[in-house]
């Protein structure tokens, strides 16, 4: 029984593991600190301007769910996996492995890009949800320790302002960003020139352009979701 025939499940699971599971620690640590930093910074500014910090949980959670959760997670994924995909495909091109695949009637898009695309979408979706949970937990920890708020009070305020449609929109963003990362990285990998310098250049260009495209896509999606 050939499991790799249609959807290449084995490669897809491999990429899900590499891109998703192995990225959990970096996302966990980064977003935990982002959540803490955001509550700290918002509390400072709200005390300065409004003389009150009751709405810090609400603002930080709304910002995290609507914007920072998917964007920071996918930027981290870009730096971690985008460069890797571009370099991997680029070096395969330099060493003529792509040509060898074509000679063996293996479509490089089917074999290399689709599993990475599915793995990246899976990673972006799962890590975004985890990042939101970790950031909210980090914010609650700081609110309890430093702002004199109880965890119940914190989450009551958070879930009064953050609605489930916001989470759905956040997941849509994650899917879009997660799709962009392997597509742009693969594009740069396939267009890589000859030589090891070209591979490095492809990896760098991939990360820079993916980051830029993610931020522009975030603006467009936010505009479509909330401004229209």
């Amino acid at each position: 029984m050939n499991l790799n025939y249609r959807f290449r499940i084995r490669e897809t699971l491999e990429q899900m593991y590499l891109l998703g599971v192995q990225s959990v620690p970096i996302v966990f640590i980064s977003l935990g600190f982002v959540g803490i930093m955001m509550v700290l910074e918002l509390a400072f500014h709200m005390r300065l301007v409004l003389k009150h910090d009751a709405l810090v949980p609400a603002f930080s959670a709304v910002l995290m769910v609507r914007e920072l959760g998917p964007v920071i997670t996918c930027l981290l994924l870009t730096s971690r996996i985008g460069a890797g995909i571009a370099a991997e495909i680029g070096s395969m091109k330099v060493t003529e492995q792509l040509d060898a695949m074509k000679m063996l009637s293996i479509d490089p898009i089917d074999y290399l890009v689709i599993p990475r695309l599915l793995g990246s979408v899976f990673a972006a979706l799962t890590l975004t949800v985890i990042s939101i949970a970790v950031a909210l937990w980090g914010g609650a920890f700081l609110a309890v320790q430093r702002l004199g708020s109880s965890s119940g009070e914190y989450f009551n305020t958070v879930f009064f302002f953050v609605k489930f449609p916001d989470v759905i929109r956040c997941l849509i963003k994650a899917v879009v960003f997660g799709s962009l990362i392997p597509l742009i990285a693969s594009f740069h990998g396939f267009r890589c020139g000859l030589g090891s310098a070209a591979v490095g250049e492809a990896a760098t260009q991939s990360v820079v352009r993916t980051s830029l495209v993610i931020i522009i896509a975030d603006f467009i999606l936010t505009y479509l979701f909330y401004a229209i």
Binding site: G20, V21, T126, V129, I130, F155, F164
Partner: protein
């Protein structure tokens, strides 16, 4: 075999990650009120003419405790029935069955505001025990909140008219205020000047008179006085019934034409 074990391990961790995220999403949905699989709700429809900022998802509270949410807002077409009292909105409320015994026919559905930024919610006042509990699917007329924008607009109009009136009657108003000022000045002089003793004496006399009246009314409420009044009333009644013709005849014989009774 080691390769298969490693692959299985990867699949296992991918599955763990996937399931963790599904569980997290379920928790988010539950906390945000999108799902409530273990909680049954009762549904009511509340009619308003003006909802004052209520949105789908706004909380519903009974005695200040959150028990549900606004699940739907509909705009009603104008019907002959609604022409008498304009009703333009129909809100669907989903309320926990635990709170339903407090929601009765005489319960009132207010649009309230809470928190420092004024988030809106529907407050249901618990009904009296004599009224019946509202059944599932009942339609109730809510209490429209005051329209601040209209109040401001009307207040602006009222202040405008007051300003016009003052502009048109500036002379009369000046004279009136001048007269009031003179009156107050005279009263002040009266109280401070040589007639001060007379005023004090007058107030003392008034005080004494009211004291006497109070004493008199107090005595009139005495049981003995009450008894006297009753006897006097009885006497007059008997005189009227028994002696009326005799007295009348006597008065007529004496040439008196006055009508006494």
């Amino acid at each position: 075999m080691p390769s298969n074990a490693k692959s299985l391990s990867k699949e296992f961790w991918v599955g763990v990650l996937f399931l963790s995220v599904i569980v997290l999403l379920g928790i988010f949905a539950w906390l945000m009120g999108a799902i409530g699989p273990l909680q049954s709700h009762s549904r009511f429809y509340v009619l308003y003419n003006f909802a004052g900022g209520i949105e789908v998802g706004s909380p519903v509270r009974v005695s200040g405790v959150k028990v549900g949410k606004v699940s739907k807002i509909e705009f009603l077409p104008e019907t002959p029935q609604s022409q008498q009292e304009r009703i333009s909105l129909k809100l669907t409320l989903d309320i926990s069955v635990k709170a339903v015994p407090s929601v009765r026919e005489d319960s009132r559905f207010y649009v309230n505001m809470a928190g420092i930024i004024g988030e809106k919610y529907i407050e249901i006042s618990p009904g009296s025990s004599s009224s019946t509990v509202l059944s599932h699917g009942a339609t109730i007329r809510g209490v429209d909140p005051p329209r601040i924008d209209q109040l401001l607009s009307q207040g602006y109009g009222v202040f405008g008219r007051i300003m016009d009136f003052m502009d048109q009657n500036e002379k009369s108003l000046t004279e009136f205020l001048e007269g009031m000022r003179e009156l107050i000045t005279d009263a002040n002089k009266l109280l401070k000047g040589r007639d001060r003793d007379k005023v004090i004496s007058l107030i003392d006399n008034l005080n004494s008179v009211t004291g006497d009246i109070r004493e008199m009314t107090k005595r009139m409420k005495n049981p003995e006085t009450q008894k006297f009044y009753d006897q006097l009333f009885e006497l007059v009644e008997r005189l009227e019934q028994i002696d009326k013709p005799v007295i009348k005849k006597f008065l007529q014989e004496e040439g008196v034409r006055a009508r006494i009774f």
